[in-house]
Amino acid sequence: MKIVVCVKQVPDSAARVVVEGGRVTWGDAPMVINPWDEYAVEAALLQSEAHGGSVTAVTIGPESAKDALKHALAMGCGEAILISDAALADIDSQGAARVLAAAIQKIGDVDVVFFGRQAIDGDMGVTAPQTARALGWSMLSLVSRIVALDPGARTVRVSRATEEGQQVVDASLPSAISVGKDIAEPRYPSFMGIRKASRAVIPTWSLADLGVPAPAAVVRWPELLNPPAREVKTDMITGASPQEIAAALVDKILAEKVL
């Protein structure tokens, strides 16, 4: 089994993200592996433990994004690859998908590629299906459970979440799988894992290494704004008893005409 997991480095979810002078800042909040991607790493590791084979973590980003890859290595991934190129600075999701697809093809003979459901910075949630499409592979989105994976027969059965419930789907490999938080609790990096990751040499691939031209971005985001401040005047409801408080609160809520 050859498994790839695609990860992204993002500002920590507790970061106070604001626009200052037209630029996004998150103060001194740390850059971390996208929390959703930890679930993808866990899913990849579980499958490689069950069926043998290797897990390679891949990311697109600057040199500093190697820290996200090191987290994946510390969790147990065998290898990691950074894709970095000055021409990728203004990449859009389509471009990212085509670059990831090229990397997966360069790695070669990949059976499954795992993704988290979305990155908590751009909140796009399209990289998995776009990469699958660029590869021409089937896409299994928002998978809650891998019911069975048979590398010999080259088939996988998953249960995936939709608005209405769980859809159980069979697919032939190779396949792209995005996972939700219900797949499994991500493991903490072990002490040995952290030591191994800190010594790991992570190769960097450029667009020339991948043999693909710089993707021209068609989607641009010319402006980032702080959301309009919520002008809330908080009405604190008090009363002599819970019943009195409840009655007053119900009247006030009904007066807002939202029910």
Partner: protein, 347 residues
């Protein structure tokens, strides 16, 4: 088929997702500015019934496909059909509702059509014939204005961000049947079974959400059944607390939400989590019970119309967002609130 705006109508077993009609309404507004009408596309089991509804919600032309190979939702044959039809008609804008299906289909069609996707947008405007979208990023901590230079501009509209147009029973038309683009035996996926989740209001569609946090486990008046260890007792206590949350949600016809802390502590399944790594919601009324309001929770609910916070800690950050606040014991306030609503709403 020369309309400039196309809308994919997401449906399940002959019932259009409410977000589809919101997308159709957004499509109509765009068409008024771009010129021309709106084409709706419905795919899947009982698509023809939904096609009739699409006329009522404002479509000028409706295409539908109902074939054995399209009966169950599968991304590949659905995307292939959308790509084929849109590739022929070359509209300027292709809209989807941001459902699980809509988001992945938009993503995939954008690749095939060599254009770009702008998912989960909350506002749309037209400037010089170009659509400019606004979408929340960093879970709504920032807003991004987005443009796409290629055509069609593929956009998914956030559920509940656009008003649903009223259905006009006087509007009708004859929907055009189209054939699948992929032969059934060439599709790499097969749906084995479908387990519909049992009832309950889905968080993303809910007009009212009552959420619980860590505080729901702190009821000192409860004595857990004998034989439980400390963790089991804590979870048992929390489940009693979430019962109170659920009863209020029930009376209001709403959904039950939870903070990450409550989910991580094992009080309630993850599907209820509101926040940056859960669901981002925007109900008309959000009642936060025993939730302190960590920034990542706020990111998931701050655009709710009216926020009510019930917390014993007067310093809890959630009160800064709240229109109404109660400092007090939620185990006493919640039952009283449920009872008061029940009386007022005659339920």
């Amino acid at each position: 088929m020369s309309n400039k705006v196309w809308v994919f109508i997401d449906q399940f077993k002959g019932k259009g997702h409410p977000g589809s009609w919101e997308a159709l309404g957004a499509g109509r507004s765009l068409a008024e500015k771009l010129g021309g009408g709106v084409t709706a596309l419905v795919i899947g089991e009982q698509a023809e019934a939904v096609a009739g509804e699409a006329f009522q919600y404002g479509a000028d032309e409706v295409l539908f496909a109902d074939d054995a190979s399209l009966a169950d939702y599968r991304a590949e044959p659905y995307a292939a059909l959308i790509v084929k039809l849109v590739g022929q008609a070359r509209p300027d804008v292709l809209l989807f509702p941001t459902t699980t299906r809509g988001r992945e289909l938009a993503a995939m069609t954008a690749i095939d059509l060599e254009t770009g996707v702008m998912p989960d947008v909350t506002a749309l405007e037209v400037q010089d014939g170009e659509v400019i979208a606004t979408r929340p990023v960093y879970a709504g901590k920032l807003l991004s204005r987005v443009v796409c230079s290629a055509r069609p501009q593929v956009i998914t509209t956030r559920i509940r961000a656009f008003p649903s147009p009223p259905a006009d029973p006087g509007r009708s038309g004859s929907a055009v049947k189209v054939e699948p683009a992929m032969p059934g035996d060439s599709i790499a996926t097969r749906v084995v079974e479908y387990a519909e989740s049992g009832g309950g209001v889905s968080l993303s569609d809910a007009g009212v959400i009552v959420s619980g946090g860590r505080g729901v486990s702190n009821n000192p008046a409860l004595t857990p059944p004998a034989g439980m260890d400390e963790k089991q007792a804590e979870i048992w206590r929390a489940q009693q607390g979430f019962k109170l949350v659920g009863e209020l949600a029930g009376v209001l016809g709403g959904a039950v939400g939870a903070s990450r802390a409550a989910v991580d502590a094992g009080y309630i399944p993850y599907e209820h989590q509101v926040g940056q790594t859960g669901k981002v919601v925007s109900p008309d009324l959000y009642i936060a019970c025993g939730i302190s309001g960590a920034i990542q929770h706020q990111a998931g609910m701050r655009t709710s119309k009216v926020i009510v916070a019930i917390n014993k800690d007067p310093e809890a950050p959630i009160f800064k967002l709240a229109r109404f606040g109660v400092v007090g014991d939620l185990f006493q306030i919640l039952p009283a609130l449920t009872e008061a609503f029940r009386k007022k709403l005659n339920k």
